[in-house]
Amino acid sequence: MSDLRDLSVVGAGDGLARGDFSAVELAEAHGAAIEGARDANAFITPTPELALERARASDERRRRGEARGPLDGIPIAVKDLFCTEGVLTTAASRILYNFVPPYESTVTQRLRDAGAVMLGKTNLDEFAMGSSNVTSHFGAVKNPWGPCDGKDLVPGGSSGGSAAAVAARLCLGATGTDTGGSIRQPASFCGIVGMKPTYGRCSRWGIVAFASSLDQAGPMARSVLDAAILLEAMAGHDERDSTSAPMAVDRFADAAANGDIRGLKVGIPAEYRLDGITGEIDALWEKGIDVLRGRGAEVIDVSLPHSRYALATYYIIAPAEASSNLARYDGVRFGLRVEAPSLDEMYERTRGEGFGAEVRRRILIGAYVLSAGYYDAYYLKAQKVRALIAEDFRKAFEDVDVLLTPTAPSDAFAIGEKMDDPITMYLNDVFTVPTSLAGLPALSLPAGLSGRGLPLGLQLIGRPFDEVTVLRAAAALEADVGFTPLPVRAYATPGG
C-alpha cells in the first residue's frame, strides 16, 4: 500500500474521514517504510509501538464520532530537538545520548492534542548546529534525491532528517526548527515545503535551546497547504515561553488554500544577487518572479543594504547564545558524565568528550566574544548591526507585502564536501540568516530542478506575524510552478 505514503495530509485526512483506511494502517505503512529505509539514517529513534498506540486511539476517537480535526490520525515525524515525554531526546549529541525527558514540548503536545501520530524522532546536526546534518553524533543522513554522480548527498541541515523523511515519504509531515535556515535550507535541498514562522509564533518551551533569540519551530511537508495545517496546530501563545507572542493563531490553512495575489506587492532585494551565484539559481528566481507577476502581483525592486553583514553578525550572536545555553550540560543532572577526580575535571572531560567538533568550536567562539574586553567589540557590535538589518526589512516592507529570494545558493552537495573550512559551510545560509536575525516569517518551496536534476527552492519572506500573506503567495507560486518530480530513492513499503 505504498499509495498511502503518497497522500497529502489533506488527502489522508479525507481518506480517514471516509473510512477508506484507518490511522493504524497509515502508521503501519509508514513504520514499515522507515524500517526499510534504515540506510537513509533519517531517524535516530523510530517509535513504531507508540505510533500504533496513538493510531489506535485515533481510530477509536473516530469510531465514537470524536475525531479532532485535520491532523487526527496523521503520521508525522519529530525532529530530535523537541523533548518528548518518555522518548529518548538526543539533539543528535553524545552528551544527551541517554536523555529521556519526563515532559513534552509545547509544540509536540499541541500536535498530540490535535491527534497527530508520532512515528519517531529524526536526525539533525548536533544541537542544530550545521547545514548538512553531517555533524550528528548518529551519523550523516542521505538525501533521497541522491546519489548523484555516484555520491550520496546531504539533505541539508540542521533539520535534515525531517526533510529527508518527508521527501522519501516516510511520514506525511514533520516538525523542524530554524535558527539561521535550518528548516528552509533542507527543505530546498530535499524538494519540500518548509516554513519558519515569526519569532514568537511557536513556543520554544521544551525545545533543546541553541540560540534563544533566533530559534523557532516550524512545519515541513510536501505542500503549502499541508505545512499551513501543521503550523496552525503548532502555533499559539504559551506562558511558559516568555517570548511567545500573546496573539491568536490565524487561519493559515485558509490562506494556503487561497492563492489570490492580485495587487500583491512583491519585493526583489537587489543585494541577494550575489557574485558567484549560479545561473540556474538566477533563472529559477526569474521564473518565480514571472509566475507571481502572471498572477497579478506587482514586482518591485527593494534594497536591504546590510544583508551582506548578516552572516558575520549571526556567527557572533548564535555562538554567544549557544555558549550560554549549552553551559547546562555538565554531567551532573542529565546526559553523559565522564568521571574524574575533581569537579572541574569532570566538567571538562564530560563536555570535551560529549560535544562534537562543530559544537565545541561554537562554544569557544561564543565564550570568547562574550569574555571581558571583547564583549563590546564583538557581541555589542553584532547586536547593533542586527538592529540595522532588521531596520532594512522594516523599511522594505513599507513598500512591499512580501519578498521573493532564492532559499540557498546551491543544490544539495555530497556528504563530506565543504568540511575543510567552517566558513564555506556557513555560506549555505546566506539567504536565510538575515530573516532569522529580523525574526520574520519565511517559507521555502520547491520551484525547479538544477542541471543535475536536484531540487531548488525559492523563499518568500513576510512582515512580522503576517504568515497569512506568505502562505497565500506560496500557494500561488506552488500552483503555477507545478513542481512534481520525485526523489530517486523512493523507499518501497516491504510487501506493499
Binding site: 541517554n98 519526563p102 558524565r337 569537579l343 566538567y347 562554544i363 538592529a387 532588521a390
Partner: protein, 95 residues
C-alpha cells in the same frame, strides 16, 4: 586578531571544554579564521545605533509571584548520572 594556543587553552578552560594539547594549535587556526572573517563588521558605522535587545516587539510578560510547580523529585532525578539520597552527587569539592 589571531588567537594563539594559550588563549585557546584559557577559553577552553573558561568554557569547561577539554581540548587535547595536540588540538590546541589547529583549533587556534580555525577560530582565528572565523574571527578574522567576523572582523568585517568593523566597516559598518554603528555610532548612532542602539543594540537590538529583543527581536520581538513586546515587553517581558509578568505573572503573579506564586509557586506554580514542585514536588517533582523523582522526575528531576530520573536522568541524573549519579544520584544519592535524593541529591545530585558530584566529586568532592570541599576538603
Amino acid at each position: 586578531m589571531p588567537l594563539d594556543r594559550d588563549t585557546v587553552k584559557t577559553i577552553a578552560f573558561l568554557a569547561r571544554v577539554r581540548v587535547p594539547d595536540d588540538q590546541l594549535q589547529p583549533l587556534a587556526g580555525e577560530l582565528s579564521a572565523i574571527l578574522g572573517w567576523i572582523e568585517q563588521l568593523a566597516e559598518v558605522d554603528t555610532s548612532a545605533v542602539e543594540p537590538m535587545t529583543s527581536v520581538a516587539a513586546m515587553l517581558a510578560p509578568q505573572r503573579a509571584d506564586v509557586v506554580t510547580d514542585g514536588r517533582q523529585r523523582d522526575a528531576v532525578l530520573a536522568n541524573a548520572p549519579h544520584a544519592l539520597d535524593d541529591y545530585f552527587a558530584v566529586p568532592k569539592v570541599v576538603e
